[in-house]
């Protein structure tokens, strides 16, 4: 890479000093807690930490023997897939429409970005109120339409509720990136295709979508991570993982065991498992899906 532009520092310490703040942040907020989680996952402590016992892989063994833990893998897969696919599809659609709007574009965009400022727990409660079986406005409409909505006892309804809340919360983020991606696609390409007689549908799939693939790929990774890690607030505020264990995803179980049940060893073991899953998923995405991305 001889042609690559490079800034060369003459001083030996300056680059390190410039890197230091970032390294310190990553060290304190990522590596240090990750190391602590690894350590705690092979310990068993009482709630107050007055006695600590080294238990080796016992915490992991207990997890693998826990049928409800294995069940929550399936729940997590369904939940994450739904959140990522629906979230990306809806926001792409909205971005394409918002990109075409001529009048009042700013108002639409602002409204679409709004939900991002809402805290997850608030989003959960918001949707919970709308769908509460006895007082919710949407469940009232549904009942009027002859549909008996009850997410307190029906697992599918509960799953639909948390997916809706999680998707709604993430649409803004996806929307922003898609919109930026769309605006960076050269108009000349689309105009040329239009002159050649390609329909809008065809133009979207053969020009826009492939050129958008780096954005889509980036968002896919981010959305999967979001669905895996960032949704427990929504679930805690709306369904608490119920009914039964129908909406208990991995990160919710981890939160429950650690912060409500004060089982820190078991909870740390789960966070290690989650960490491994996410690293694997991200590596797989970068190795296999990235090949299909046009930069």
């Amino acid at each position: 890479m001889a042609t690559e532009k490079r800034v060369v520092f003459r001083s030996g310490w300056l680059p390190w000093a410039l890197l230091a703040p970032q390294v310190a942040v990553i060290g304190v907020f990522f590596f240090w807690p990750a190391a602590q989680a690894l350590l705690q996952s092979i310990q068993q402590q009482d709630a107050f930490g007055t006695s600590t016992e080294w238990v080796g892989l016992d915490n992991f063994r207990a997890l693998m023997n826990d049928s409800s833990y294995l069940g929550s893998f399936k729940t997590t897969a369904v939940f994450s897939l739904l959140v990522a696919v629906i979230g990306l599809a809806v926001s792409l659609m909205l971005a394409v429409f918002a990109d075409r709007v001529i009048k009042g574009a700013l108002a639409y965009k602002t409204l679409l970005i709004w939900p991002y400022a809402v805290a997850p727990a608030v989003a959960g409660v918001l949707w919970l109120f709308m769908f509460a079986p006895s007082i919710g406005v949407v469940s009232f409409w549904l009942r009027a339409a002859g549909f008996e909505w009850n997410h307190l006892l029906n697992g599918n309804h509960a799953m639909a509720l948390v997916v809706m809340a999680a998707v709604w919360k993430q649409i803004s983020y996806n929307f922003l990136f898609f919109l930026a991606g769309l605006q960076s696609i050269p108009k000349s390409l689309i105009e040329a295709a239009a002159i050649d007689g390609a329909s809008p549908w065809r133009r979207f799939w053969t020009i826009v979508f492939p050129l958008l693939s780096p954005t889509t790929f980036f968002l896919l990774v981010i959305n999967i991570v979001y669905a895996f890690l960032d949704t427990f607030g929504i679930i805690d505020a709306s369904t608490e993982g119920g009914p039964g264990k129908e909406t208990t995803v991995l990160v919710y179980k981890l939160y429950y065991d650690g912060f409500k049940a004060l089982d820190l060893g078991g909870s740390a073991a789960q966070s290690v498992v989650l960490m491994v899953i996410l690293i694997t998923l991200t590596v797989v995405q970068f190795r296999y899906i990235e090949r299909r991305v046009n930069y």
């Binding site: 007055t50 006695s51 006895s134 009914p243 039964g244």
Partner: protein, 437 residues
């Protein structure tokens, strides 16, 4: 002091320097009493602080019960735990097992030299917080029990006698059917399904919820709430749920709000709900003992307590312990106890407070407020004294999860209870192992 003659800055400085000279010892107290109950807690501290000069109790609201406990755990690990911590009943076994983190209340009182007699406390309450060796570990504070609320106006509209509450479960089912026939959308619901329908239910019928005296006899206790009687009751409720007679409103106390709003006509819940019902219900209401099955011998026995107690944390200064002891001494007086009971609807936890309230005519003036104390002030048996289990937080969630499957018709009552017992026992084994019971 001539503050006006000096500059404000100097006044601030003077105040700053004046602080260390104060001889008062601060007693930090973390609690979970929000809203009207928070005001009650603040008043208790204020009265105590005004009654003497050596100590100052500083109450801090730390969120829900589990949140306060988590906060205290984190604070203890960081070396700045409060002196006094309010812990809910399901956290009791965890606190008891954390020997290095707490200082038994009996010890605190003894060292302070104050006269303290645990036997003044109602036995079902004091016994709950007492170790197998007879040492009282925490201070009973706010205790409640499970009672039955019903809407008298709705009863009248359904052609039922509003002055006669259903006293047995078959009567509840019949009343629910009539309420439904009269157009009521939610004839019956319950808060705290594990506490009301399984824990109190067991004590009320004098059957075991768990072996080894419901956990009082040792950590090798195992769950026993899948007996034929339990299955029969849960099956009944499941049938009521299928027919729209029992409407499930969610975990914990979510169902509480449905009674004062008039949505649900009958509710089993905490006696501590009384304050909210009294303030918000726009209809005539009644309170009655928990229903039971009349063919079960020994029923009704007594119900079990919920609520919380005050724990003293380890590693504090001797002065702070003396202050905590003085505060507890103040709290134990019959006058303070009786006033608290009448104000909040929590149980009178000393016999003297109950007698004082009775002789003041309070129960006559507010009918139904004596239901909860009467359910508790009885001679408890080994099966009804209370339930004290390790990992109880998780066990309650497991019961919630399994019962939801039963109400939703995904599992039969027997399948749900068997599974809850099996999964709950895994938690008990884990607790036993972790604490080398």
């Amino acid at each position: 002091m001539k503050i006006r003659s000096i500059t404000p800055l100097a006044a601030v400085l003077a105040a700053l320097f004046a602080l260390p000279a104060q001889a008062q010892t601060e007693i930090t107290w973390w609690h979970s009493m929000g809203g009207a109950l928070g005001e009650w807690v603040n008043d208790l501290a204020k009265d105590f602080n005004a009654s003497q000069k050596d100590y100052k109790v500083v109450p801090t609201f730390k969120g829900s019960y589990p949140e306060s406990m988590t906060a205290a755990v984190a604070a203890f690990r960081a070396g700045n735990a409060p002196v006094v911590l309010q812990v809910f009943e399901v956290g009791t076994a965890t606190m008891m097992a954390s020997k290095g983190a707490i200082k038994p209340v009996a010890e605190v009182m003894k060292e302070s030299g104050l006269k303290f007699d645990p036997t003044t406390y109602v036995s079902a309450v004091a016994g709950y917080y007492t170790a197998p060796n007879g040492q009282m570990l925490s201070m009973p504070f706010n205790s409640s029990t499970t009672i039955f609320y019903y809407n008298k106006d709705a009863f009248k509209a359904a052609g039922l006698d509003p002055e006669k509450a259903p006293s047995t479960w078959p009567e509840v089912a019949l009343a629910a059917a009539k309420l439904k026939a009269s157009g009521h959308k939610c004839p019956f619901s319950t808060s705290w399904q594990s506490w009301t329908q399984l824990e109190s239910f067991s004590a009320w019928h004098n059957v075991e919820f768990a072996t080894k005296k419901n956990g009082f006899g040792g950590m090798d206790t195992r769950l026993a709430f899948n007996s034929p009687l339990h299955v029969r009751h849960i099956e009944n409720l499941a049938n009521m749920s299928k027919n729209g007679l029992f409407v499930y409103k969610g975990r914990n106390n979510t169902a509480d709000a449905t009674f004062p709003s008039g949505e649900c006509a009958m509710l089993t819940g905490s006696s501590g709900l009384y304050g909210a019902v009294k303030a918000n219900a726009k209809f005539a209401y009644g309170m009655a003992p928990l229903p039971y099955y009349p063919d079960v011998t020994g029923a009704p026995q007594n119900t079990v307590i919920g609520g919380a107690s005050l724990w003293v944390m380890a590693g504090k200064k001797a002065e702070e312990y003396k202050g905590a002891a003085a505060f507890f001494n103040h709290l134990s007086s019959p006058e303070v106890q009786a006033a608290s009971h009448q104000r909040t609807g929590y149980l009178p936890i000393t016999t003297a407070a109950f007698k004082l309230t009775d002789s003041s005519g309070f129960y006559k003036k507010f009918p139904g407020t004596d239901v909860a104390p009467n359910q508790m002030i009885r001679k408890a048996t080994d099966k009804s004294r209370g339930i004290r289990l390790g990992n109880f937080v998780q066990i309650r969630t497991i019961i919630d999860e399994e019962m939801e499957q039963v109400w939703g018709g995904k599992k039969t009552a027997k399948e749900g209870l068997d599974e809850a017992v099996k999964r709950g026992n895994e938690q008990l084994e884990k607790f036993q192992k972790a604490n080398k019971g």
